[in-house]
Symmetry: C2
Subunit: 121 residues, 2 copies
């Protein structure tokens, strides 16, 4: 397993988009995250992982959901991993991925100028 990034954008950012202009640095950090989510396959991977039983899924589960080669799925998982949106852990033969919900929450908060959402689940 390769490096897990320091989750820059989680710590760094930010007051909501519409409240005050983003700094150049904040924009770079946020753009990195949105870029990781700018591919349909990666969004579905994210969703599959997040909604999977136990909050985690192995690559074998994920790859079956697509009509793409397994290395391609692995590539997309790497992009998500390096963006800080997910983490992967090897257990035996399989690698299990889970999302970092704080990162999603932070992104969500940047998009609206309101009170933070009340998480029910």
């Amino acid at each position: 397993m390769s490096k897990q990034l320091p989750l820059a954008a989680v710590d760094a950012c930010c007051s909501p988009l519409a409240r005050e202009p983003l700094t150049a640095g904040q924009a770079v950090d946020l753009a990195r995250l949105f870029k990781a989510m700018s591919d349909p396959v990666r969004l579905r991977l994210l969703s599959l992982i997040a909604s999977h039983d136990g909050g985690e899924a192995c690559v074998c589960d994920l790859a079956d959901a697509f009509d793409l080669s397994q290395p391609t799925i692995s590539h997309h998982l790497k992009v998500l991993r390096e963006s800080g949106l997910i983490t992967g852990e090897r257990r035996g033969t399989w690698v299990y991925y889970r999302v970092h919900p704080e990162v999603l929450a932070r992104l969500s908060a940047v998009l609206v100028a309101g009170e933070p959402p009340v998480v029910t689940a």
Copy 2:
């Protein structure tokens, strides 16, 4: 001014990412929006527009904030416009842009599995 798109993702999407897997179609629509926000310049434009007095800004205001050519700014505004995140209106010599807050709110809601945020401002 060119076509304003039908804001597909606003109507279409969706229950939160982590609640159930996105369909391929939902993922495509969402990815289009996230891709529009995957560039630092476009994020800053979005933020500048949204946080500007009256909720709108003309291109002249926006272009000054960057060290980029005016056509490049115009290109980024077009990307944002075609994604449905902003709209542009010509008034006299100037073109004023404003954001579609519903689209941002919808995106925000997709990212978290909680109650919708209470908008204060």
